[in-house]
């Protein structure tokens, strides 16, 4: 799978999140949208929900079960969850380095 495909997948998850989220937490479906920090509209539970949606889509599309919020993600100097773009890059890295 290409990075562009994974970016599209994460953006789909953002759109699905927007359907269930309160207005204040709806996100712009764009690669530069912030997911963490002061410039993010998501609260911590919102981020958990978005990560769950991304994991679900990966399982459905690629039949792969990733745990995105593991020790490795948490120990990175720059969090992979800071933006849609960085999340897509992290998912792409995990999917391509552990290809069965």
């Amino acid at each position: 799978m290409t990075l562009a495909e994974i970016q599209a997948l994460v953006l789909e998850a953002v759109e699905e999140w927007n359907q269930q989220a309160d207005e204040a937490q709806r996100l712009e479906a764009a690669l530069e949208t912030r997911l963490l920090g002061r410039n993010s509209k998501l609260d911590s539970l919102g981020l958990v929900n978005l990560i769950v949606l991304v994991e679900e889509k990966i399982a459905d599309r690629y039949d792969r079960r990733l745990t995105l919020a593991d020790e490795r993600a948490m120990s990175q100097e720059r969090s992979p969850f800071r933006s849609v773009q960085s999340l897509a890059e992290y998912v792409h890295l995990l999917l391509t380095e552990n290809q069965p």
Binding site: Q20, N49, V52, D60, R65
Partner: protein, 233 residues
């Protein structure tokens, strides 16, 4: 999306779980059951999965199937559990590990995966299984009671973590009910247990269903993180 409410029950091949599956299927729930071995329960509202509740991949695959088929999960009854009656000095470490794997890891894994699906509709009821062995500190059940104490802590903390998602998490703590699990308990031990209850009789399936019904009711939306014991313990 399924029109009828969907319930997942673990450990449905026999005993309490089997009774729960029959009861709720008869009441019109769509019941999904699971156990390590196949079930001979046939009912139009019942579907069975063969798996170990501590097998992460198998549990995830089952929940993915429920999501794709029914697009909802209303209730999870974490009934699957194993016990071993033994003096601590004679308890094999493998037995201790097995009990924790099924009772604690299995319960946690099903809670985690079920809540992921439940939160989509901002609604869910999780009922875990504790035991009177926890408050009574029953001798001979050190590891079993410790595993159920862990289930109680999971219940309280998940009650808090899942509350914003519209999911309640509670536990029922049955006294002894005549099932295979209790079959191995010597009569003298059983009588000693009953003597410590305010109401000294064995539990019936209906006693457990009654507590679960209470937790499942829409009116119980303000009840979470609670453990209800049978027998007045």
């Amino acid at each position: 999306m399924s029109d009828s409410a969907v319930m997942l029950i673990s450990g449905t091949r026999k005993g309490i779980g089997r009774h729960l599956a029959e009861t709720y299927a008869a009441r019109g729930w769509q019941v999904i059951g699971c156990s390590r071995k196949p079930s001979d329960l046939t009912h139009p509202n019942y579907r069975h999965f063969c798996l170990d509740v501590n097998d992460e991949a198998a549990v995830q695959a089952m929940l993915a199937e429920i999501r794709k088929t029914y697009a909802r999960l209303d209730a999870l009854i974490n009934n699957a559990g194993i016990a071993a009656l033994n003096h601590a000095l004679l308890t094999p470490i493998e037995t201790a590990r097995r009990i924790f794997e099924t009772n604690v890891i299995g319960t946690f894994l099903l809670c985690r995966e079920a809540a992921r699906l439940m939160q989509k509709r901002k609604w869910g009821r999780i009922v875990n299984f504790s035991s009177v062995a926890v408050p009574l500190d029953l001798e001979g059940e050190a590891v079993y009671a410790a595993s159920k104490a862990a289930v109680e802590t999971l219940t309280r903390i998940l009650g808090r973590e899942l509350a914003p998602l519209g999911i309640t998490v509670n536990a029922v703590g049955p006294t002894a009910v005549r099932t295979d699990l209790v079959e191995a308990v010597p009569e003298i031990k059983l009588q000693a247990l009953l003597a410590r209850q305010a109401i000294p009789r064995l539990g019936e399936f209906a006693d457990i269903v009654n507590v679960i019904d209470f937790f499942l009711r829409p009116e119980s939306s303000l009840i979470t993180g609670q453990v209800i014991y049978l027998g007045g313990v």
